[in-house]
């Protein structure tokens, strides 16, 4: 028994020694990611998170392409038909979105994820080198402002539909979540509040950033989104002023041929931005995902070959319009033939058309100026100057140009609502079935079911209860 005592003594000694050595062994640091406690220590760390905010906004669920494609699918009235296997797209195209629609949920989740990253940057501005602080703040606020505007216009009623001050849009969250206890069940803010937040953010961005051309956000990009917002709000003088800032800066110029704007297959893609691009999501074969290529391109160009153009699409173009040839490839659009091409979010042609529209409606209309802006775009499309003279004719001309110029780039739904038009669901041959007026609840995204399950404070949109 004595021996056993020794044994126990010896064992416990060794156990203790061994234990203290192994205790440390339980502290294993993650290698593929870093712990949040060490992720935000320096200015460079915060600048890195700002880049992270671009990567979040660039995800396929948002500006990687599905923000643009989901809204275009919802607005389409028979320019194309979707023969693919994503029921999410089929629902959108049929104007019959379910509350489980994955792409709608993706827009919401991706949007708020990117907003959260922007909020992380903004909450840590104190770490940023003073000389960089204004830029970092401006870029983060550009992204946040743009996302809030876009979330408000897909999840809320249009600005011109009833009372923006009482219509609900999306919740405004301005602080990052760093601990479980921070998670809150927020309520939806009104359309007016979210627009105001977006404008406030974008004004800081416009002031803080330079007007130089940039791969990242710039003052010009902020002006462009402000111009979009003001146009939507029918504040035409402000819209014209913002557009003029961009055009007047001389930083951007239209590319010579319309097709030059769109990257061809396997074109070298790293940091490929045309002279016309004001803000583009940067995609390469190393990072990013072009969801527009996925849904629109034919399989010869790595797309899923699921979105076929109908005759109606071709018939809409004026004779001689270069754009119909340049953007189509058999029954598919060729705008997105490079699977690793950038996704252009803002380009100069749109700014001319914003200004044209603003000039028609501003307090003291400038119809000649509007025609001149339209003609800039028409000239590049190898078309003669517009013959439109009256305000109504010029508006029709702007509508034509916006469709011909910007189709598949994520504008149709918002144009439909601004112009108070009507869209239709279509059958397999493109014949119109049911009509959906611009203010139909079916043309507004539902609040995703997943989000409402997690946050019962969120009310559902009309028609989805």
């Amino acid at each position: 028994m004595k021996k056993t005592k020794y044994l126990i003594l010896a064992l416990s000694t060794f156990a203790l020694l061994y234990n203290s050595g192994c205790q440390k062994q339980l502290d294993i640091k993650p290698q593929n990611a870093v712990e949040s406690s060490v992720a935000l220590k320096t200015s460079k760390d915060v600048e890195g998170v700002l880049i992270g905010a671009y990567t979040a906004a660039a995800l396929r669920g948002l500006y990687g392409g599905r923000f643009q494609s989901t809204t275009d699918f919802l607005a389409d009235d028979g320019d194309f038909a979707y023969f693919g296997t994503f029921s999410d797209y089929t629902e959108l195209n049929n104007k019959a979105i379910t509350i489980n629609n994955g792409f709608v949920e993706g827009v919401w989740n991706t949007g708020y994820n990117a907003i959260g990253v922007c909020n992380t940057v903004l909450a840590n501005l104190n770490l940023v080198d003073p000389v960089k602080k204004a830029r970092v703040e401006g870029e983060a606020k550009f992204l946040r402002g743009m996302i809030y505007f876009d979330l408000a216009r897909v999840f809320g009623k249009a600005w011109n539909d009833g009372a923006p001050a009482s219509n609900l849009a999306v919740p405004i969250v301005l602080t990052p979540t760093t601990a479980i206890a921070d998670i809150q069940n927020v309520k939806r803010n009104t359309v007016a509040e979210v627009y105001a937040q977006a404008i406030a953010d974008l004004q800081v961005a416009e002031t803080n950033l330079t007007t130089d051309k940039s791969t990242y956000a710039s003052s010009g990009a902020a002006s462009a989104i402000l111009a979009r917002i003001y146009l939507t709000q029918e504040k035409y003088d402000l819209a014209e002023a913002e557009a003029t800032k961009i055009i007047g800066s001389g930083t951007y110029s239209l590319v010579e041929h319309f097709s030059d704007e769109f990257q061809v297959k396997e074109q070298a893609t790293r940091v490929f931005n045309t002279s016309e691009d004001i803000f583009a999501i940067q995609i390469s074969n190393q990072s990013g995902y072009n969801a527009l290529n996925e849904v629109y391109a034919s399989s010869a160009f790595a797309g899923r070959e699921e979105t076929y153009l109908f005759g109606q699409f071709f018939d809409r173009f004026e004779a001689g319009d270069d754009r119909v040839n340049e953007v189509t490839d058999d029954s598919f659009t060729s705008k997105f033939n490079n699977a690793f091409g950038n996704v252009v979010v803002i380009r100069l042609a749109e700014i001319y058309l914003i200004r044209a529209e603003a000039r028609i409606f501003k307090s003291s209309p400038d119809l000649a100026g509007a025609a001149a802006d339209i003609n800039v775009v028409r000239k590049r499309a190898l078309l003669d100057n517009t013959t439109a003279a009256t305000a109504a004719e010029l508006l029709d001309a702007v509508k034509y140009e916006r469709h011909a110029e910007l189709t598949f780039e994520g504008f149709q739904l918002f144009d439909l609502k601004r112009y108070k038009g009507t869209t239709y669901s279509v059958d397999g041959d493109g014949n119109h079935l049911d009509a959906f007026p611009w203010n139909s609840p079916k043309l507004i995204f539902p609040i995703p079911k997943r989000e409402r399950d997690a946050n019962p404070q969120l009310t559902q949109n009309e028609g989805y209860q």
């Binding site: 192994c22 993650p30 712990e35 949040s36 969250v173 190393q286």
Partner: protein
């Protein structure tokens, strides 16, 4: 660590010297059956029971005793033996007592006789699963043990297998058991990169397995602490035995075929139904005819149905399997060895699928001196798996069924496989056939995985006294798994790049483990104690590199050195460690009353700093009623034992860093950035299961008929859940300990020796029922992958099919109808129907968990012949065909070829049918609903063997020790009503804890017939 062991050994060397002073009778007690050592045998002097000792862990004893006396050897489960002392050495050979359950089971850190066992352990003998031509051992044990539900994913070789012991105990953490090979918890991570999991257990050669012991209740498993909730599978490899060196050669050859086939439309049916669907979908006749002509390779011969391709035939190949295994084993009293080498070459029945493997195992042990035994078990293997795309890819063979029967295999316009070349562009076709032709992959692409695996475990065992010994084990499991793939230019339609795409990855998983523990065996009068206690430390690190690129000069260049565009490269590393202390004591009084207590403290790097250590205790009691005097006067019941146990176990399989707040890096236009990807949760800890088990072991007629019955209740709390949180927080899920679930069930195992003597016939039946129920998810609904029809819902079993209930076709217009099922608030639901999918409320429509599983094994021997068969049954589960929305939907979702049930589609007003109208791209009835749900019950002739052992007389002429020839079949016949390929499935692209029994082009299991020979020299 090494230093520590050395000091330990040195220290005990001194102690041991002090023990060896007595002049004594020494000897070894072995089992008559196989010569193995029997530890814990009571050795006493007849007439003076106070003079006595017991055998040590090696079956040896030393006892001071005058010559001429008689020694009595007593051991539970064996007949008492008396032998007279004649010299200084007295060995004893004990004979088993047929009246009692005498099996020895392996438990954590030791062994125990079945007789003294109070926990629930199932044992499968290695001999039962030898030479069965399945890729991994789980398939071999399917149907052989109650409470163990095994489901292979599909018929592709070496794919992941789902094993559930007493049901799933977790919603989001792992549900696979812990696998321990010769004391070393092995690496079971899936390192596959192609979206379908592989099974690292494929690297274990099942012919080297002596036994598989499955620890099921908490009493048995809690010694494995935070990893025991899903049960523990202990694999013991074969060891050499003293005696002549035995050489055994095994060889088998065979072939496999798919177990089933699904029926699709032929050309005439396809053309007819597509025309009908086109008209109903609003397409002009011209556009439909143009479409048909396109699918018919531009020919008008579809009108006469000249081409009628059965695509399913095109994806099967001749699938031979061959296996060669040479074993040398033997040794002396001091040194024993077992050396085995195996070559296995198996072709899958799916085109392009194959697995070949060679492995070598050396197990040696040496009794260095009286107090020290050392040894090592080492195996090396190399497994090459020629793999296929996952079930969700157009390139996986089974998706070929989507192609039109009017499409020829060879495109007459080019003389090449349809889809390879579009003569008008010189590139692969982009819209012919209807989808990418998977056959193109079989000729133009490969995806190979090669595993190199070293599994090594060295041990030293020091004997301090007959009662006390110390064992130290140091093991490493080094797995290097590399993947190499290339898809050539002809695969452009699928791979997205026209000049070839390559991928290569390599992962090295280094898993170090050491166990150091004391064993104590002592009898005090009528009491006996068997105790073990010690510590264990484990660390696993996985380092992975991968690279991918495209743009190759031609398909002759396949390695990435020839790629002009490296599109991705990455290296990652992850690790975890586990530091544990454990102890167990088994106490028996008078061989009647049994008590066992155990506990383990586990510290894990995976959990939050606030909860780094957990304690997992368990206790159990047993009462051997048959040992009581009142049972001695009857002969009917030879054995009767009641058991009860309760204990706490944990589950920590949720990845390595779920408790940490994390930022991850992302690139943007060549610039690096980072963003938060996970919120910290310092309170995160293991899931805790409390299991109660009540068991009864009973034997009749001297053991001719015996049974084991167990009922259990396993309650799991602190479920690790990926809790859905508002996305407005910037995150969509966080990992938290919330939620509860439970499993309760019944297990029955009955063994009967129906006939003994010249003809022997034995039957073994197992039957088990498990009822899984999620009791608390904090109101959450967690969806599985795929169509999200599998859900985790409170009050329901894990993975229930939760979707809209299909109500057939509207007789008026052929629209798909659904029951509204709106909750009317009074316990009733609105049973009216609607054609608006959004109006219908999803409800529970089915359950992927079986009501019961069962196995029936029969073995008959007569004059050298042996015949056995194993029937396996799974009953009451449902299967959801996730591909139904493409293949059984009347062209409503595309031009995929359709299953023949679509011929019953609604055509005219008044038609009563369950198949809605076929409308091309019409979306009619496409959405997930109970329409795609079917019963998955099946009975399978899992295994059947007929063998012949040549007689001793002939063998002696041939100078052979033994010779056996046999024929065997696996999965020969399956009885099921499931209309799909095979009812045993889990789509390899979607399977998970929640997504179960989800069919998605899952290839059927293989039916394999082999012929083999075993020769002993």
């Amino acid at each position: 660590m090494k230093k520590f062991l050395l000091s330990f050994l040195l220290f005990f060397t001194c102690v041991t010297l002090a023990f060896s002073q007595n002049v004594a009778v020494t000897g070894k007690v072995t089992d008559q059956k196989d010569g193995s050592a029997l530890p814990g045998v009571t050795v006493s002097v007849k007439g003076s029971p106070s003079i006595g000792t017991q055998t040590d862990i090696n079956g040896k004893y030393t006892l001071s005793v005058p010559t001429g006396k008689v020694l009595v050897f007593k051991y539970i489960g064996y007949k008492d033996l008396e032998q007279t002392v004649t010299g200084s050495v007295l060995n004893a050979v004990l004979e088993t007592d047929a009246k009692v359950l005498n099996e020895v089971v392996v438990v954590g850190y030791g062994t125990q006789s079945r007789r003294a066992l109070t926990g629930s352990v199932s044992k499968i003998k290695g001999s039962d699963i030898e030479n069965i031509p399945v890729p991994s051992l789980e398939s071999a044990i399917q149907g052989r043990s109650p409470g163990v539900y095994i489901q292979a994913q599909n018929g592709k070789l070496g794919q992941g297998i789902q094993v559930r012991i007493r049901g799933a105990s977790s919603v989001s953490a792992g549900n696979q058991p812990l696998y321990v090979v010769d004391g070393l918890p092995i690496t079971v991570d899936d390192f596959s990169s192609n979206g379908a999991s592989t099974n690292p257990l494929v690297d274990l050669n099942q012919n080297d397995i002596e036994s598989i012991d499955i620890l099921k209740d908490a009493s048995a498993a809690a010694i494995y602490g935070s990893r025991a909730s899903n049960g523990v599978v202990l694999v013991t490899t074969k060891k050499g035995k003293a005696g002549d060196t035995k050489i055994t050669y095994n060889q088998y050859y065979g072939f496999s075929k798919p177990t089933g086939e699904r029926k699709f439309l032929n050309s005439e049916q396809y053309v007819t139904l597509l025309r009908e669907a086109g008209a109903a979908g609003g397409y002009s006749t011209n556009s439909i005819e143009a479409r048909l002509k396109r699918y018919a390779a531009g020919s008008d011969n579809y009108k006469t149905y000249d081409v009628n391709t059965d695509w399913q035939n095109e994806i099967t190949q001749h699938a031979p399997v061959q296996n060669y295994n040479l074993v040398l084993s033997g040794g002396t009293d001091k040194t024993k060895f077992y050396i085995s080498g195996t070559y296995n070459d198996q072709k899958g029945y799916l085109i392009g699928n194959a697995l070949n493997q060679y492995s070598l195992r050396t197990n040696i042990s040496n009794q260095a001196n009286k107090w020290l035994e050392i040894g090592a078990n080492l195996s090396v293997s190399r497994t090459k798996n020629f793999r296929l795309s996952n079930d969700d890819q157009f390139s996986t063979p089974e998706q070929i069924v989507a192609l039109s029967p009017i499409t020829p295999v060879i495109d007459p316009r080019t003389g090449l496989l349809s889809g390879v070349l579009d003569a008008s562009t010189g590139n692969p076709n982009t819209n012919f056939p209807v989808y990418y032709n998977p056959l193109i992959n079989s000729q133009n692409a490969y995806y190979n995985t090669i595993d190199f695996r070293n599994l090594g475990n060295a041990f030293a065992q020091v004997k301090f006294s007959n009662s006390l010994s110390f064992r130290s084990e140091v093991g490493v499991d080094i797995l290097n798994s590399s993947e190499d793939s290339y898809a050539g230019s002809a695969t452009a339609r699928n791979s997205g790049t026209s000049n070839g795409v390559g991928f290569n990855s390599s992962v090295t998983a280094t898993n170090f483990n050491t166990n150091n523990f004391l064993q104590y065996i002592q009898n005090f009068g009528k009491s006996s104690i068997n105790a073990v206690g010690g510590m264990s430390y484990q660390r696993q690190q996985n380092d992975l590199n991968s690279i991918s690129g495209d743009q190759f000069p031609s398909d002759a260049y396949k390695k990435l050195i020839s790629s002009a565009d490296i599109t991705g490269a990455s290296s990652t590393s992850t690790a975890y460690s586990l530091l544990s202390y454990f102890a167990r004591a088994n106490y028996a009084f008078d061989d009647k009353y049994l008590l066992s207590v155990s506990g383990r403290v586990d510290g894990s790097s995976r959990f939050g700093t606030n909860n780094r250590y957990g304690f997992f205790p368990a206790g159990s009691v047993g009462w051997v009623v048959s040992q009581e005097n009142f049972m001695k006067n009857q002969t009917l019941i030879s054995e009767l034992k009641l058991r009860a146990s309760y204990g706490i176990t944990g589950n920590s399989e949720i990845g390595n860093f779920p408790s940490r707040g994390l930022f991850s890096a992302f690139g943007y236009a060549g610039v690096a950035g980072s963003r938060p990807t996970q919120l910290p949760n310092p309170n995160l800890k293991w899931e805790t299961s409390a299991t109660s088990d009540i068991g009864l072991d009973i034997g009749f007629f001297g053991g001719r008929l015996s049974g084991q019955f167990d009922v259990y209740l396993k309650k799991t709390k602190d479920l690790l859940l990926n809790v859905q949180v508002p996305a407005t927080s910037g995150f969509t899920t966080i990992t938290q300990n919330l939620g509860k679930l439970q499993n309760k069930g019944l297990e029955i195992q009955v063994d009967s020796k129906n006939l003994v003597g010249k003809v022997t016939w034995s039957t073994s039946v197992n039957f088990s029922v498990n009822r899984n129920k999620i009791t608390d998810l904090k109101g959450q609904v967690i969806t599985g992958s795929g169509d999200a029809v599998n859900r985790a819902v409170e009050g329901q079993p894990l993975g229930v099919f939760y979707t809209v209930e299909f109500a057939g076709a509207d007789p008026a217009n052929g629209d798909a109808l659904y029951y509204k099922n709106t909750d009317l608030g009074n316990g009733q639901r609105d049973r009216t129907t609607t054609n608006d999918y959004n109006q219908a409320t999803p409800v529970v429509v089915g359950n992927p968990n079986p009501d019961f599983i069962a196995g029936l094994n029969n073995t008959v021997t007569y004059a050298g012949f042996d015949f056995s068969f194993l029937l396996q049954q799974v009953h009451g589960d449902d299967i959801y065909n996730g591909a139904g929305q493409y293949m059984s939907v009347g062209f409503n979702n595309g031009a995929d070829n359709q299953t023949i049930d679509q011929l019953k589609a609604w055509k005219n007003p008044g038609d009563i049918t369950n198949v809605p109208q076929a409308r091309l791209f019409g979306g009619n009835g496409v959405n997930p609903s109970s329409r795609y749900l079917e019963s998955g019950s099946y009975v399978r002739l899992k295994n059947i063997i007929l063998g012949y052992n040549f007689s001793k007389g002939l063998l002696s002429k041939l100078k052979l020790r033994s010779l056996r020839v046999y024929a065997q079949a696996t999965n020969l016949i399956t009885w099921t009503k499931y209309s799909g390929w095979d009812p045993e499935l889990n789509s390899d692209a979607f399977s998970g804890n929640i997504t179960q029994n989800y069919d998605f082009y899952a290839a059927p299991q293989a039916k394999t017939i082999t012929f083999g020979i075993n020769v002993g020299f």
